[in-house]
C-alpha cells in the first residue's frame, strides 16, 4: 500500500461541524461522494456530531424534524414572553415618574401598595367633591385626570404577572413561575403553567391546566390539547393519549396535526 502518501496534514485536516440540513441528507443517503466524505471525516473527530447523527438515524429524519419543530415552538413561545418582558423593562426605564426603578421589586408587594395609594386619592377626591364649591370641583377634576393618567400608564396585573412568571421560568424556578402564570388568569398563562408542571413531572397539575386550556377558545386551545396527550403518555394512559392524538390528526386544520402524527407513530412503535 502507498504508505508514503500519509501526511499529518491529510490525516488531521481540520473539519467543521455539520449543519442540520447536511446531516439529514447524509442519513437519507442523498449526499454526493465528496460531501459524504466530508461528513464522515468530521464524524471521526467530533463526538457531538457523531452522537447527534446516531440519534437522527435511530428516529429517522422526518420524525427528527417534527421533534425539532416541537422544541422550536416551545422556545419561541417562551421567547415571545421574554421579549415582551425585555421591551417593557426598557419602557419602565424611561418613565421613572410612573414606575420608579422597581422592575426588580416583587409584584406581589407592588400591586397592593398601588391599590392603597389609589384608594387614598379616591377618598380625598370624594371628600373634596362633598365639600362643594367650584374650586373644589376643579381640584377634583384635576385629581381625577391625574389618577386616570396614572392608571393608564400602569400595566394590568395579568401582564405584570406574566412578565414576572416568565422571569422565574427563565431562571429555572418552574414551581413559582407556574403559580404566577395561573394567577395571570390568561389562556397563555394557563398553558405556560401546564408546561411548567409538565417539566417538573407534576403531571396531575399539568393535566388540569391543559384540560382547562383545551376547553377554552383561544390560540392556545390546540396546543393545550396536544400537550394533554403528551401528559397522558407520561402517566401511561396510552389509550386516552391516542384518542386525543387521533382526533388532532383527523383535523387537517389543526396546527398540531403533523406533530400528533409523529407522536402517534411513536406510540404505536412502543
Amino acid at each position: 500500500m502507498d504508505q508514503d502518501q500519509y501526511t499529518v496534514g491529510n490525516l488531521f485536516a481540520t473539519t467543521t461541524c455539520i449543519s442540520k440540513e447536511m446531516m439529514l441528507l447524509y442519513v437519507d443517503g442523498q449526499l454526493t461522494k465528496s460531501a459524504t466524505r466530508m461528513v464522515e471525516s468530521h464524524l471521526i473527530d467530533c463526538e457531538f456530531c457523531d452522537a447527534a447523527l446516531e440519534g437522527i438515524q435511530a428516529v429517522g429524519t422526518k420524525k427528527f424534524e417534527a421533534m425539532l419543530e416541537t422544541v422550536s415552538q416551545r422556545i419561541e413561545s417562551q421567547q415571545s414572553n421574554t421579549h415582551a418582558t425585555e421591551e417593557k423593562d426598557n419602557v419602565i426605564e424611561f418613565r421613572p415618574q410612573v414606575m420608579p426603578p422597581v422592575a426588580k421589586r416583587s409584584t406581589k408587594r407592588f400591586i397592593p401598595m398601588m391599590s392603597i395609594a389609589a384608594s387614598i386619592i379616591l377618598l380625598a377626591v370624594v371628600a373634596i367633591m362633598f365639600m362643594g364649591g367650584d374650586s373644589a370641583s376643579g381640584i377634583a377634576d384635576q385629581n381625577f385626570e391625574k389618577l386616570a393618567l396614572k392608571t393608564r400608564s400602569i400595566e394590568t396585573p395579568s401582564e405584570t404577572l406574566m412578565q414576572q412568571a416568565s422571569g422565574l421560568y427563565n431562571q429555572g424556578n418552574l414551581k413559582e413561575a407556574a403559580e404566577l402564570f395561573i394567577q395571570a388568569g390568561t389562556a397563555e398563562g394557563q398553558f405556560d403553567a401546564g408546561n411548567c408542571y409538565y417539566q417538573l413531572g407534576q403531571y396531575d397539575l399539568a393535566e388540569a391546566q391543559f384540560k382547562a386550556g383545551k376547553n377554552v377558545e383561544s390560540t392556545f386551545q390546540e396546543k393545550s390539547e396536544y400537550y394533554l396527550a403528551l401528559t397522558y403518555l407520561k402517566t401511561d394512559r396510552v389509550a386516552e393519549a391516542k384518542s386525543i392524538l387521533e382526533s388532532i390528526v383527523a383535523n387537517e386544520d389543526n396546527d398540531y396535526a403533523k406533530k400528533a402524527t409523529a407522536t402517534l407513530a411513536d406510540v404505536n412503535d412502543l
Binding site: 500500500m1 500519509y6 461541524c17 457531538f48 435511530a58 421533534m67 422556545i75
Partner: protein, 193 residues
Amino acid sequence: MGLLIDPKTDPSDLELIAAYKATKSTVPLGELFMRYKHLIMGACMKFLKHSSEAEDATMDVYIELHTKLLEHEVKNFKSWLYTLTCRHCLMKIRKMKGIVEVDADDKKFESVFMENHVIEHLIGEMQDETEVLQTAIAQLKEGQRECIKLFFLKELSYKEVADNTGLDLGQVKSHLQNGKRNLFLYLTEALKD
C-alpha cells in the same frame, strides 16, 4: 442551505455568549441555541432512546443554558455544550432508573475533543516528519490500521470500508475514531520529545 456550522461565523459563539452575559437577553442566547439545537436533540435521542424524553431534555438544556452560561467562563462552546448535554442525559437516565451511585459507564459521556489549535500546531510541526507518522501508524492495532488506510488513503466511505473489511459500520467508525485518537496521542508525545 447552510451545510456547515462555523462557530467563528459572524457573530461568533463567544460573541453571542458575551452579548448574553452583558444583556441577559434571550435573543443572543436563542441564536446560539438554534445553531446547535439539532446536535443537542440528536445526542439526547441517542442517549435517551425515546423521542418525548429527547424533546424534554433538549428543552431542559436550553433552560440550563440561561444560568450555566452566566456561571461559567466558556472558551469552547461546542465541547462545553456537549458535556452539558451528556451530563443532563446521564442525570435523566439515573432518575429514570432510580440510580443514585456513580455509574462505571460514565466514561462514555466524557468528551474527548481534539482541540483545533493543538491539531494546527501538530500539522505545522510534524508536516515533514513522515517517518514518525509511519512509526505511529505501524503501532496501531490491525483493525484500526486497516480502516485508517482505506478511509484516508483509498478515500473510501464508511460503507465501502465495511464492505472491504467485513466489519460492520459501528466497528469501522470505532476503529477510525480510536485509531486517529491514538495517532494524535502518539504524535503529541513525539512532539514533546
